[in-house]
Amino acid sequence: MGGLSRRDFLKASAAAAAFAAAGASAAASLRPKDASASEGDIRWGKAPCRFCGTGCGVLIGVRDGRIVATKGDPQAPVNKGLNCIKGYFLSKILYGTDRLTKPLIRKGDTMVEASWDEAMTLIAGKFKESIDKHGPDSVAMYGSGQWTVFEGYAASKLFKGGIGTNNVEPNARLCMASSVTGFMSTFGGDEPMGCFDDLDLGDTFFLWGANMAECHPVLFSRMIDNRLRNPQVKIIDFATRYTRTSQMADQYVKFNPQTDLALLNAIAHVIIRDKLYDEQFIKDHVVFKRGKENIGYGLEDKFKFADEPKLIGFDEYKAFLKPYTPEYVAKLSSVPAKTIVELAHLYADKSRKVNSLWTMGFNQHTRGTWVNNLAYNVHLLTSKICKPGENPMSLTGQPSACGTTREVGTFTHRLPADMVVMNPEHREKAARIWGIDPKKIPAKPTYNATEMFRALDRGDIKVVWIQVTNPFQSLPNLSRYRKGARKGDGRFIVVSDIYPTRSTELADVILPSACWIEKEGMFGNAERRTQHWFKQIDPPGEARNDLWQTIELAKRLGYGSLFPYTYPEKEIWEEYRKFGEGQGKDLAPYESYTKARGLCWPVVNGKETTYRYVEGFDPYVKAGEGIKFYKNKADHYKAVVWARPYEPAPEVPDRHYPFWLCTGRVLEHWHTGTMTGRVPEIMRANPSAVCEMHPVDAGRLGIKDHQKVKITSRRGTIILPVNLNGRGKAEKGNIFVAFFDEGKLINELCLDAYCPISGEPDYKKCAVKIEKA
């Protein structure tokens, strides 16, 4: 530990303990004079961080209507005072000099300032015209896991319950859809059983396709702090790229892209072969199923898929696993057979509290649902589930991917509280709460996100309203969808955002939005924690809340009666809450959230639930029941272990395109960089995209560090400087490019193949070639 002695460290820790025990007032008296003076007229409020699905609590200091400071909230159970670099710069994300402050309407190549009335009249006119001429399925709303709960709810209610189309999709389809279908198919209910406390309580952490150190930094710090206290803690990073996370893990297990499917089956194989499973738990809580195989990749327009699950026995499952020997999978994955066996034993070690954590490596996967299922298999076979400190945990990317898109159900097929439009009882219930005729809600889902933009390209969708997201930078196979958007012929695109983006540049109308604490909001994070914040400052110029914008369209289309609110946020919440009551999705009254640092649902009798499906923690599990997967009624309240095979990726490196391209995020930037790109400090730390490459590959091609290369896939070309020794390091035969840089649209190279079950595209695997530029 550098030159710091252990004694010094202990001294510092002791000081910390003493101060923590003394509490806030003692600390306050030590505050430097100048700091207290400058904070004298600051008003402080709370909010969750605007960025990732961790949902750190933040304290925000406001003076004269402007944010002057943010601090990690020491009272917030998620982060206990810590933020990452993005959180520390929250105070600057709203103040870029090019904030959108007035509605803009396209006149040829120019965007002309307009009044809200002009803009909304034009938008409503286009919606009406399209619905009259082409039917309700010709208009669409494309929203976001960064929508507040209210915004998502209003959009879903207007489109499904008012206009009568299921054309509502969020960008969460691009990041969390496989997690949803994984949860639904295994447990019959969405979202994790565990919570972030597992990071403090567990001692064995398997990370799969998750660069937590950069993408969930505060959660990663919790895990690392746990390791500091407990030398037993072991972090194993399964990955295809040597990331900052790999560098800090105890063990890095490199595998070939797509072979995670085979590896998890090999781990299950060893668990069965060596009799490491929990027979009683399996008998009591598990059924086995097998679905369709060779299921395709969603590459064709209007691709359709429906799984046909069949119950199988434990023996059939064992037979299914037979071929996945460590030796066979070692060849496929390049992970040594010995390592596979060791790690299977570690997974099953009875003396260890085992967790699996994953994000986009699993979800953005053409077999995303399957690989989620396979992770649960291992936990179910070994009964390492539903115990404090011992759970599988799917980490969400966006701040309200859970709270809004999943729980409110802003996907084409979903309704609030895990309900779906295909189910007549669910439509009935939604209609009752919405006060509409159940016939109004169409029974058939329409398009997933990728298909929605394919439909726009074909001209089947004419009018699309995009809120709180930037699809014309973030979609895969981007060129097709960017071109499609400006094909004319009645196509009309509305984009609500706070800054100009690669999507606003393709819009016919740009609406200036309020952001974060410029409006009242609620987000739900990855551990089922719903968090509230009040409006603390005014938005600039004429910028307005997206919720107001949606309700304004509703009024102009004649659906104002669906939104009869005087305090929309609170009344929407109380209405929305009715969906989850008694369903294991219970939410508390509005007021409870205004004070609490978030509450994990189900909240029953004012008490939140940290661990689900387990007696003593979850009020839905009665005394004596132990563990009950009560959301899965169809399988007698048991969870499903799925026989899901390894199948290859749709496009693999070959002679012409010899490298795997993987895309993703970096620590400093949030998604497409719309907000973080306005913070000078962040731009200085990470100004532009680079191509991470292995030095051996570079040497073979005669490419030196920082030299420019031309990267080409079957869909596009991009020129970038290479980085041979950056924070993340590519493995041989792989390159990595981040997608935040709006000047370098790497997604033009990505393949728009998706998981047939979840509809989520795979941004992690396509084939490219590399030449000197």
């Binding site: 510092a12 101060f19 505050r31 402080w44 710090s221 560098q247 800090m248």
Partner: protein, 100 residues
């Protein structure tokens, strides 16, 4: 670094996750903010961004060359919170042509 600032930072940093959060919810954000850590200082010199903190702690762990001591030397992913200093403008601006 001012001793008080340093100690204050110790409270905020080294105590992460080591102490139970108060169960009782309070609404006094101002007093919470008083003992919360503010923005971590930027790094005003060239540095190597490593995963083990060794490069930074050579000085910030020992006070070598008068470097301010890190109040949380166990946190070794320094760039998780600290950015490069000396800011030059390099932001996205003025992308939409606007006619008035």
């Amino acid at each position: 670094m001012n001793v008080a600032v340093c100690l204050l930072a110790v409270v905020a940093c080294a105590s992460f996750f080591s102490f139970p959060v108060q169960a009782e919810e309070r609404e006094d954000y101002e007093s919470d903010a008083r003992y919360a850590e503010g923005q971590p200082p930027a790094i005003p010199h060239p540095f190597r961004d490593t995963a083990d903190g060794k490069y930074c702690l050579r000085c910030h762990g020992t006070g070598l060359n008068g470097a301010p001591l890190s109040p949380h030397p166990v946190r070794i992913t320094c760039t998780e919170c600290h950015v490069k200093g000396e800011i030059k403008k390099h932001t996205r601006e003025n992308k939409i042509k606007t006619k008035d």
